[in-house]
Symmetry: C2
Subunit: 359 residues, 2 copies
């Protein structure tokens, strides 16, 4: 059986910045390093999941140069397993590089591709899903994407329209009919009602061989640009050239939306991309009469449904509802949670005033 023999690797993508968690996150303190998960950073929680799937020696991290030192320090990974991107070019170059790099060392590898900054509630269900996806990826050569059963008409996520069911021994998986962009609210409601649309969580399982074949087939520029990034660690200039030549696309756009070898595994292990203060508040259960306190001491009088990220000083709330209150020591944010997707306007204004140290 190929399945049993395929060595499992995990690739953690930690390329994003995190303006959407300002002021807790910023250029020098990116989102994966935020300690939102009971004191552990999002990265540390992701690493624990990755190691459980792949083992310590086969867990990899891809991140940007500006965060490499912090990422290495937080992850404890040896430098040899941290792929440092010379510039940010979205996820497709990162996935391609990691696949080539790992394939050169372990040609039969099956990879789980994970974002460094997601939150997952049910660790056991998550591992079961990865294992099921890996079995299909290894035995059928498919690209498996995890589709999260929606719990609300979220307009901040892309959706996956699933198609026909796959039969035994991969029952539970579906073929993918198409990927859809973030919908408007009315459409999102229809999606949720239909049951045929799942959130595109950006969690993938495939063999190195399969993803490289599909990159070759559907993203030839990316394939050509990253071809030198194979057998040995590329020197700085070769890496920089490869990145400069690679089109800055997401792996979804570059490959998944075009490939006919994509399957989807519906999951419901409690997932959030923790994309905004609002989604963090939801992930932490701030709703109804409850507020969520990530850190700090809070005195709350008639103030339900807030997200508080305190610092050294006491935070007191009176009569307020649905707010993010974030004290980052040198900057303080008070924002309506339902406006938190506009946070970039705030960051732009802070930057525009010349506060480079604060963004």
């Amino acid at each position: 059986m190929r399945q049993a023999a395929a060595p499992r690797h995990a690739v953690i993508l930690a390329g994003g910045a995190g303006e959407r968690f300002w002021p807790a996150s910023r250029a020098a303190r990116p989102k994966p390093l935020l300690r939102v998960a009971g004191g552990a950073s999002l990265l540390a929680a992701t690493l624990a999941r990755a190691r459980r799937f792949a083992g310590e020696g086969r867990t990899w991290l891809v991140c940007g140069r500006e965060h490499a030192a912090a990422m290495r320090s937080e992850s404890g990974l040896p430098a040899s397993r941290v792929l440092v991107e010379p510039e940010r070019r979205n996820t497709a170059p990162a996935v391609a590089w990691a696949a080539r790099h790992i394939a050169a060392r372990d040609p039969g590898a099956v990879l789980a591709v994970l974002a460094a900054d997601h939150r997952i509630d049910d660790a056991r269900a998550f591992q079961a899903a990865l294992a099921k996806a890996a079995a299909a990826a290894v035995s059928r050569g498919v690209l498996v994407t995890l589709g999260v059963r929606p719990t609300r008409p979220e307009t901040g996520y892309g959706y996956i329209r699933i198609g026909e069911k796959v039969g035994s021994p991969h029952a539970g998986l579906h073929r993918v009919r198409r990927f859809v962009e973030k919908p408007a609210e009315a459409r999102a409601r229809r999606y949720v009602r239909s049951g045929a649309y799942l959130w595109n969580a950006g969690i993938f399982v495939w063999t190195a061989r399969a993803i490289l074949e599909e990159i070759e087939a559907h993203a030839p520029e990316l394939a050509a640009a990253t071809a030198p990034l194979g057998a040995r660690s590329p020197r700085g200039t070769a890496l920089a050239r490869a990145y400069r030549q690679a089109p800055p696309l997401s792996i979804d756009h570059a490959v998944l939306e075009r490939s006919r070898r994509v399957w989807c595994l519906p999951v419901s292990f409690g997932w959030s991309d923790v994309g905004t203060w609002r989604s963090l508040a939801e992930a932490l259960g701030a709703r109804g009469g409850r507020s969520a306190v990530v850190a700090g001491e809070v005195v709350s009088v008639d103030a339900p449904g807030n997200l508080v990220w305190g610092g050294e000083r006491l935070v007191a709330l009176l009569g307020v509802e649905g707010l993010a209150v974030v004290d980052a020591g040198d900057a303080l944010l008070v924002a309506r949670l339902d406006r938190s997707d506009e946070l970039r306007r705030v960051v732009a204004e802070v930057r525009g005033r010349g506060h480079r140290d604060l963004v």
Copy 2:
């Protein structure tokens, strides 16, 4: 003419605490010391008004023991003109003591009694009102209370129902029909519509002789308790005994509501007792599309009508409206302005958690 000869004195009452401005004010940093008036403290602004009426050498301050050092320091008054109360007993003992003390030195004195922590917009109109009130007080021996023409149906103030007009040369003054307690909203609306109800601002003008006569007539216990506080500065034990024996009443309750010698001068010089974050916000013009910033740097995106009192760190607001955001360094408050009269609940909770340094 007695009027021209009557020496003017000003008595500033600075006895209050200031839980209602937590966390900016607290036991060790009472409200009169808050710098809300363009960098100057409320006390400094009051002193400037007092000196303009009475001159430097006849301006007096009454305050509590726990704040005496800070008050002396902020006011620059010599110790001989700061009357330090041994305990808080509301305003009647303070007024009685000051009147006796000044009368012993300057028997013909006319006194303006001012609160240390009010805000007044039109300084010139204020002085004109005091002069007019003083003329009536001196020539007619009346107790004059300033009544602020209401600009909204405020439920946080007491009202004065004015009666018949006084004739020349004191035209503009009215006799007082009665004092009324803080009304409910519907009643407050009727008061404002009627034009016959004014806000009781707690600003009084009277001769020392007249107020002492009326204390004798209507508050004999207060008169008896404070009788020893006359000619010379009382020793600590005599002062403590006088205060222990004095009933802890407001001068309004003890005398004004009972005296038949009370006149009212309607005024509209822009007044606020700055009693809550909300009233400070209103005094500073935070309404409609405007926020009011007392201190600190604020980045505001679609966030109108807030009051921000920042500190060292940048404050960013997104989409919030009608809030007080107060960063006091060691404590942070986020409160709905229209709930700011409930702030004591917050302070009680902070105290209940043992944070004595914060309250």
